[in-house]
């Protein structure tokens, strides 16, 4: 037995034969499912009293709002072995996503293994395995010792607040999109939406229909991709372009030409020209923003310079009065329950294929990617990668260590398909989905080879 068996005067429950998955959202569920499928014994703990993570609007850490809909179409979004129902539309509403996740959990028997209303308070790494302090639904704290830890706590919940001069003395309301739930919060007010992520654009569109006036402040000029092109979900069209496997510059030129064809010139709507190539920022998929700009319901503005009383002053010197400034400025990656330094790399954890710890075989993170496409499908394959790797580790720990060493040589390969992403915290975990899928497929083939060699 390693280390102490007592903590806080309590016996540590020995669960070293099991894997602990933190979180029962879209990532934790597929991690648990794929690990169980490979024969691993799995416990899942979930802070909320229900499953679904971000997609359960009731959840305290949920960041969906009433109008949230998918921005990637079904084939890219769904778990590949559990497709979204034929009856569902191309782009699912968040309530449909939650129903889908609940069906996934029920089908694979996961709803029975999730311990709900259970919070991870503390994680103490041992030479091998972890002691984990949990608080259950009854509020009592207890310790357990696990052989392995899989972190799937999500990365879109801890709001990133910008700071501008005069912000503290602004007389209107300041709100982060984390606290945004419904268009009622905008009704009849003078609203400045800051940020042109997909959330910022969604809220600007909603404000255009509910608010008294709407200003949309963006740091730079972006590409706005349509949701439909040529009568198909646009991501299904754009993947035809990806499938050509052309040089990235040519691909980008084709995308830009398609955007020109389908959307037209942004300048014509009164928006500035994008200062970067297509795909160099996380794609914004919104067909309605330009429509409302064209109807004068949204006034584009540059970055905020400072606040002055009830006014917001922009970097071009223009100033507007506002009742509400809504920061749709994104989220920070945080693992508050982990000791500092357990994950290498700081703000952007340095993990193999964003999943495996480069040294520890008992620690992995699932779901820590921001793809330019659907999330669940790629996270499924992350989980299969992890399960295959753990199978290798279970059969031959030395072979698993060799794999980590070999894979670490490509630690800097971030599956971005050679795209020069604009430098921003927003792109810390950005992956280009086609490249990431290709890399995962290669990794899985390599692991299968090594597994076969061990088995032989």
């Amino acid at each position: 037995m390693t280390g102490t068996t007592m903590r806080d005067g309590m016996r540590v429950e020995d669960r070293r034969g099991r894997i602990l998955v933190l979180g029962a959202g879209s990532s934790g569920l597929t991690a648990a499912k794929n690990l169980r499928e490979r024969g691993f014994a799995v416990d899942v703990v979930e802070r909320e009293p229900h499953l679904g993570g971000n997609w359960n609007i009731e959840g305290s850490a949920s960041r969906v709002y009433e109008s949230t809909r998918m921005i990637s179409s079904k084939p890219f979004t769904q778990y590949p072995d559990f497709p979204m129902p034929d009856a569902a539309p191309d782009y699912l509403h968040h309530t449909h996503v939650l129903a889908y996740l609940e069906r996934y959990a029920a089908h694979f028997g996961l709803d029975r293994v999730v311990e709900r209303s259970t919070t991870v308070e503390e994680v103490v790494p041992l030479p091998r395995g972890f002691d984990v302090a949990l608080t259950g639904p009854d509020g009592t704290r207890r310790w357990r010792r696990y052989g392995r830890l899989v972190i799937a706590n999500g990365h879109n919940w801890s709001p990133k607040w910008p700071t501008y001069p005069g912000q503290d003395t602004f007389t209107g309301e300041l709100l982060h999109s984390a606290g945004y739930r419904s268009g009622d919060q905008l009704a009849g007010r003078r609203v400045v939406v800051v940020g042109a992520g997909n959330t910022g654009c969604d809220i600007a569109v909603e404000a255009a229909q509910r608010a008294a006036v709407t200003y949309h402040s963006t740091r730079r000029a972006y590409w706005y991709a349509p949701k439909y092109a040529f009568g198909k979900p646009a991501d299904q069209v754009s993947d035809l372009i990806f499938a050509l496997r052309l040089p990235m510059r040519v691909t980008q030129a084709l995308f830009q030409a398609t955007a020109r064809l389908v959307v037209g010139r942004y300048e014509r709507y009164g928006l500035p020209t994008p200062d970067h190539r297509f795909l160099e920022t996380h794609p914004i998929v919104n067909q309605q923003l330009l429509y409302h700009v064209g109807h004068g319901a949204i006034t584009p503005k540059p970055d905020v310079d400072h606040f002055a009383g009830d006014e917001v002053v922009f970097t071009d010197g223009s100033r507007v009065q506002a009742d509400l400034v809504l920061f749709a400025t994104g989220y920070l990656i945080r693992f508050p329950f982990l000791p500092e330094g357990l994950l290498p790399g700081g703000a952007r954890p340095q993990l193999l294929r964003n999943v495996l710890h480069p040294e520890r075989t008992d620690l992995a993170v699932i779901g820590l990617i921001q793809p330019d496409s659907g999330q669940f499908a790629l996270v499924h394959w992350q989980s299969v990668l992890l399960a295959t790797f753990l199978e290798l580790d279970a059969r031959d720990p030395a072979a698993a260590q060799r794999y980590l060493r070999d894979a670490a040589r490509h630690l800097e390969d971030r599956s971005q398909a050679g795209i020069a992403l604009v430098d921003s915290t927003r792109h810390l975990i950005e992956v280009e989905h086609a490249a990431y899928a290709r890399d995962l497929e290669r990794d899985l083939a390599e692991l299968a080879r090594r597994l076969a060699a061990v088995a032989a």
Binding site: F76, D81, D86, A106, H107, G109, W381, A448, R449
Partner: protein, 283 residues
């Protein structure tokens, strides 16, 4: 894993399904539930062969339920009571794969997958994609590299069907080619008359060489000794590639779930399922 296996990983990239996802359709799904369900027992989902429909398992389903299993059969698009696609000519095996996978997601738990003939090819594809199935049963399953054997058998036993198929005419096999000698001629003829035309591309795909399946699921492979459509040698090849042996039923033909003697086949399947499918345990 059988000898000389080339190791392959998972198919992550599905470009065709990403860019041209199969169009949604209304499906016919038939259920036969046991009166006293056995807790933890998976459902058994049956996939019919070319030209048939969920009705291909009309004898099996009640018998499955009587034996305490939840039997389910789905009609692939354009078959039985399922909606026909707008352009049947473009229907391929991946569309059928979609239809079965959609049906799987509607079941309360991962099902045992049973496939007959073309349906067995669809099930093999699914066993590589949907790894949670507790078991697979392949009836009259053509080997992945045995297209020529199929065409050869057809040329020997039913050249008219082959010739009509080759020039794209609607075609149905001869009764004598479809069933074994135990089934009376009139019964066989009625069966042939229920068959519908199989879209040419999907039928052709069955005869084309396919990647050998990499399957971890336990699989039972069954062949009719007098099968004139998928010869026993082709089924044996399927079994070998899956690392198992084919069970041969002498006197039976190609229509294993329907022709005289189907009870014996089902008895074998049930006995195997009892041995293979452990009642779901909490792990």
């Amino acid at each position: 894993m059988s000898r000389g296996a080339r190791v392959r990983g998972e198919k992550v990239q599905r470009r065709l399904d990403w860019t041209f996802p199969p169009a949604p359709i209304e499906r016919e799904v038939v259920h036969a539930r046991p009166e006293a369900p056995v807790p933890g027992r998976p459902p058994v989902l049956c996939v019919h062969g070319a030209g048939m429909g969920a009705w291909a398992f009309e004898r099996w389903l009640p018998a499955l339920a009587a034996a305490g299993w939840h039997g389910v059969a789905v009609s692939l698009r354009g078959h039985g009571g399922s909606q026909a696609p707008a352009r049947p000519a473009t229907t391929t095996l991946r569309h059928y794969e979609h239809d079965v996978l959609q049906t799987i997601t509607e079941l309360p738990a991962p099902p045992v997958l049973v496939g007959h003939s073309l349906g067995a090819v669809v099930v093999q594809r699914l066993l590589e994609r949907y790894r949670s199935a507790p078991a697979g049963v392949l009836l009259s399953a053509p080997g992945p590299d045995h297209g020529l054997a199929l065409l050869g058998a057809l040329a020997r036993h039913d050249p008219v069907t082959l010739a009509r198929g080759a020039v794209g005419l609607r075609t149905r096999p001869r009764a004598a080619a479809l069933v074994g000698p135990a089934t009376p001629r009139e019964e066989a003829q009625r069966l042939v008359e229920r068959l519908q035309a199989e879209p040419a591309l999907a039928a052709l795909q069955v005869t084309l060489p396919r990647r050998r399946p990499v399957v971890r699921t336990p699989v039972l492979v069954v062949s009719g000794g007098e099968d004139r459509i998928v010869p026993p040698a082709s089924v044996a090849r399927t079994a070998r590639l899956l690392g198992t042996r084919a069970h041969l039923f002498r006197g039976l033909g190609h229509a294993l779930p329907l022709e005289r003697g189907w009870e014996d086949v089902l008895d074998l399947v049930l006995a195997w399922l009892h041995r293979t499918v452990a009642v779901t345990q909490e792990t």
